[in-house]
Symmetry: C2
Subunit: 263 residues, 2 copies
DNA sequence: GAGTGGTCTAGACCACTGA
DNA sequence: CAGTGGTCTAGACCACTCT
């Protein structure tokens, strides 16, 4: 038996590097406390102050040390668990996931489409006009076949070379779509500016051989393997706001994404 | 003005069908209350008792009516918001998403791989042996190149016809992989039985032309467009447990999934 | 048995929305 | 303005894991 009366130094196998990390919470900030904490925890993990091994002292101590209630600390921790950075084990503790794969890097191509404006990628609008909706677009948008919609065809390039050919159908009168702004700003930012809040999207990814026309536009050979993607996007009321049928050069593009498996 | 003193009938524009729905909460059950409530809400939505329009009375009333605290009710509602079934609007209320797309149907092919055992799909193991890890597999699994791993090659069929050719590398000594159980049970179930808890996976989907060998196995023509998918799966400690490099017949398979866009 | 996360309560105040 | 969700507190008991 140890002659120590107090709690021993406690550098257990799964030692808690968190003790040395300082957190600065600003109660006057409009940013929620749980969110401030989550951000600082995430930064500490990324920056390496919190090593993958095992860690993160128990929630009761942590909340006492931070001057927060346990539910608030839990809310912060939970958000990182949802991001896949932490794992909770009942009776054990909360650990930082080993993970080579730090950044979840968000999800697949929608993210690209959301962000690809201004910087490297450029977009050329090949077509932007009203059209009687074809069967697939009408079905996806919940309209009668033949309803007038706006059809866009855009050629997306990175490093000056084509990557994707995007055909998009937008419901009538949803928003103005001046070609110039489409090329400079991107469809999703225009929607956001118009007060349309994206909520979810349904995607289907497949493959097929390039047609002669696609091959010419994309600088591929006819019959080359292309990635295809059909997507219907919905706003926060569940209303479809876009249906797209796109092809990507398989030689220059792939869909990368991380899944979290939920029990 | 109405001569009524009490609260009027209150069949406002966004009327609350929830008032007529009964909830049965069992406090003796080991199932958490918030989870019971979430399930019953989800069932009510799916079954149509809660119509897409607008709905769901405020959380304070709801918790009072159910005899629960507001945080508990919030936890239930939040889980459905996370699933994309409900939308909260501050100052307005919580609404059922219109959504054509009811079932989120989980995510892409991993789900298929998890579930495709026993029923329609069958799996034939073409190869199951130790092998010095090639560069890509070693990198993905965090091993030195040439480390001995187990390589699996499996041909997956539905309706008696081939759909996919799966090449999988499993770290050494992770678990036993008898061919017969692989064909009857599936890799993921075997992992689960071995106490391996899947946590996340990184996937990359692309396309390319079929080689002669692939074409022969998959009953396609050489040069046909195939979907390709590379996946590294991790368990809950962040340890890589599988690296796969797979090809799917584009004529018979596509990756379908739903994204939720988070602000 | 000690320590952990999982769940739950009964309040409180604030920020935003809409009439 | 009243009503809504968003955040936060300070406790409580339970279920599980590990030693």
């Amino acid at each position: 038996m140890s002659p120590v009366h107090r709690t021993p130094p406690r550098t257990a196998p799964g030692d808690r590097a968190l003790d040395s990390v300082m957190f600065a919470l600003d109660r006057t900030s409009p940013v929620p406390l749980y969110y401030q904490l989550a951000q600082q925890l995430e930064a500490a993990i990324e920056h390496g102050a919190l090593t993958p091994g095992n860690l993160l002292g128990n929630e009761v101590d942590l909340s006492a040390r931070l001057g927060l209630s346990r539910p608030t600390v839990r809310q912060a921790v939970q958000s990182l668990v949802d991001k896949g950075l932490l794992v909770r084990r009942r009776g054990v503790g909360t650990q930082v996931v080993h993970s080579q794969v730090k950044r979840p890097l968000e999800l697949s191509s929608l993210y690209d489409d959301l962000e690809s404006a201004g910087q490297g990628p450029t977009t050329r609008v090949l077509r932007n006009e009203p059209l009687a909706a074809p069967a697939d677009a009408a079905a996806a948008l919940g309209l009668a076949e033949g309803t007038e919609v706006t059809v866009l065809e855009r050629l997306r390039c990175t490093h000056g070379r084509p990557v994707a050919l995007l055909r998009t159908y937008v419901p009538p009168a949803l928003l103005e779509l001046p070609t110039q702004r489409l090329e400079s700003t991107g469809l999703y930012r225009m929607m956001r500016s118009a007060g349309i809040v994206l909520h979810s999207a349904r995607q289907s990814v497949g493959a097929r051989a390039a047609t002669a026309e696609e091959a010419a536009l994309l600088d591929e050979k006819e019959g080359a393997a292309l990635l295809t993607m059909r997507r219907t996007a919905y706003d926060d009321t569940g209303r479809p706001v876009e249906y797209g049928s796109h092809v990507y050069r398989a030689s220059r593009y792939a869909f990368d994404f991380q899944l979290l498996i939920r029990p």
